[in-house]
């Protein structure tokens, strides 16, 4: 009886089943999450340094950036950045005489997730840098290190253990935010799941399967995060 209700064959990896399509969607999601997260880390490091050490104008501009991203829904930001980003790039290309350029959905998705993650990472890293004892940074400066060398040798390594809980949460947020790209039509896991479900009418089966895939991604990420966290804190005293 249950065999009639749940048709497991739909999840088969080969074409009559949709398992392969789902896995390809998951792979796309992971690619965007990884790319967007990395871009976000770069933007966040710059943003945090700008917020802490920049001049008054830079500080204010960074404040505007993080305020806007933290106050406006990701879905709206994604639409705005997606259309504005591709449109501006096309106009720039047209003005330079290249005609229209075709922007891949992957690049646009990474850019969009990266800009959003950048604002979050700015706040996380700013808090972590503030947690580094000021004396360590002053000592580095007293040794005559340049600001970049201080950042690379002292500030970044010393703040990393403080930043890891926040950064790991940002990674989980970025994997979940990739689902929002379904709204702009990028074929990541959530959208292909909906397409598969719509084609076969087995809505429950496919959405549960996609949920399981996301959950596995989260749980595996958690395992890796725990390992990294233990490694980053190996010099710390055990919490009493």
């Amino acid at each position: 009886m249950t065999a009639d209700v749940i048709n497991w064959g739909l999840l088969a990896l080969e074409p009559p089943g949709w398992g392969g399509v789902l896995l390809a969607g998951l792979f796309n999601s992971i690619k965007i999450a990884l790319g967007g997260y990395s871009l976000g880390l770069v933007l966040g490091t710059g943003g945090a340094c700008g917020k802490l050490y920049g001049g008054p104008v830079v500080k204010d501009l960074m404040e505007i950036y993080t305020t806007l991203v933290r106050a406006v829904p990701e879905l709206v930001l994604i639409l705005l950045l997606y259309y504005a980003g591709t449109d501006l790039l096309n106009r720039a290309a047209a003005a330079l005489g290249y005609g229209t350029v075709n922007i891949s959905g992957l690049a646009a998705g990474i850019f969009v997730i990266g800009v959003v993650q950048g604002a979050y990472a700015t706040e996380v890293l700013r808090g972590a840098i503030l947690a580094v004892p000021a004396g360590q940074i002053e000592a580095a400066r007293a040794y005559g290190m340049s600001p970049l060398l201080t950042l690379r040798r002292v500030t970044l390594p010393a703040m990393l253990p403080h930043a890891i809980p926040g950064l790991s949460n940002l990674w989980l947020i970025s994997t979940k935010d990739t689902a929002l790209l379904a709204v702009v039509g990028f074929s990541e896991l959530t959208l292909v799941t909906r397409q598969a479900a719509g084609a076969t009418k087995a809505y429950m089966l496919f959405f549960c399967a996609a949920g399981a895939l996301y959950l596995i991604l989260t749980l595996v990420s958690n395992l890796i995060i725990r390992f990294i966290e233990a490694r980053a804190r190996r010099g710390w005293a055990a919490p009493s």
């Binding site: 305020t67 406006v72 990701e74 808090g127 947690a131 947020i173 689902a179 809505y203 959405f207 959950l215």
Partner: protein
């Protein structure tokens, strides 16, 4: 003494679950202060911003605005109603979820943990579609449900949106409440018991108020995050402000203007929310440290 205190605070910071440390990084919880706001460089920046706003008004098309003002106001109302109802319902579920994780028997504890893990481990959009398309396609197969008094509601989209948003809020806030319940000093609970309070009275008079007080700053952030999640319900045909703007974009073929207005609307709503929370936080008497 002070150094010791600071070390303890630092340890506490590290011990907090990542959500509590990142909620402020992902949601706006403090508005820029007005004190010392007008500095020379800011006046220049504001002039630039004013110029940009003027350009946006002058060069972009806004003639559709009066025609859709009523629909937009209605949409904002729906969004706020969704936010308020799901936050209150979600919080009502979050309290038992947090509580059983601190003192409950292990089956309840495992159940609450499993709920939190599943909801927080999958995207809200997927949960929403699972409920709307999945359950929505499952329900009509049961005659008992089709004949029940709930059926007229279950055929609409908003109950699924409310359910998904409520569960999401309950799971994230449940984790926060777990930390808040666990963080209430034991001495206060013991004192209440020494006064002869029953467990029920202890919970209502001491444990819950103290936990809510501890959770209030995070609650602020979680509510802003919830506001930022509400536009997702537009994907299941609930007409909130995001859906109204999508409709305007389809009808007028404008790309940016409606989206910019939407961003502005959400910015204002977030600011209002932060102000409301600041008001409530100031209402609670605290000993200044």
């Amino acid at each position: 003494m002070r150094a010791e205190e600071r070390a303890r605070e630092a340890a506490l910071l590290v011990e907090l679950p990542p959500e509590e440390t990142t909620v402020e990084a992902t949601a706006l919880t403090h508005l820029p202060s007005a004190r010392g706001f007008f500095k020379p460089h800011r006046i220049v920046l504001m002039a630039v911003a004013g110029g940009l706003v003027f350009c946006a008004i002058w060069f972009l098309r806004w003639d559709w605005l009066p025609q859709y003002a009523g629909a937009l106001a209605w949409g904002v109302g729906v969004s706020l109603l969704l936010l308020a109802s799901t936050s209150i319902l979600g919080f009502a579920i979050a309290v038992p979820i947090g509580l059983v994780q601190v003192t409950g028997p292990w089956p309840l504890k495992a159940l609450a943990q499993g709920f939190c893990t599943i909801i927080r481990g999958t995207p809200l959009l997927l949960q929403l579609w699972l409920l709307y398309y999945g359950l929505g396609s499952l329900f009509p197969q049961f005659p008992a449900i089709r004949q029940s008094f709930l059926w007229p509601y279950l055929r609409e989209a908003w109950p699924y949106g409310v359910a998904a948003l409520t569960f999401s809020f309950a799971a994230y806030e449940g984790e926060v409440m777990r930390g808040a319940f666990a963080g209430v000093p034991r001495g206060e609970l013991e004192a209440a018991r020494a006064f002869g309070m029953s467990r029920w009275k202890l919970f209502w008079r001491i444990w819950l108020p103290r936990a809510v007080h501890r959770a209030l700053p995070t609650l602020n952030g979680e509510t802003v995050l919830q506001l930022k999640s509400t536009p997702l319900v537009a994907t299941i045909t609930v007409i909130d402000v995001y859906a109204v703007v999508s409709k305007i974009r389809q009808v007028t073929y404008l790309t940016y203007e409606p989206l910019l207005l939407l961003a502005l609307i959400y910015l204002l709503l977030t600011a209002l929310l932060v102000l409301a929370f600041r008001y409530f936080e100031n209402k609670i008497p605290t000993r200044s440290v």
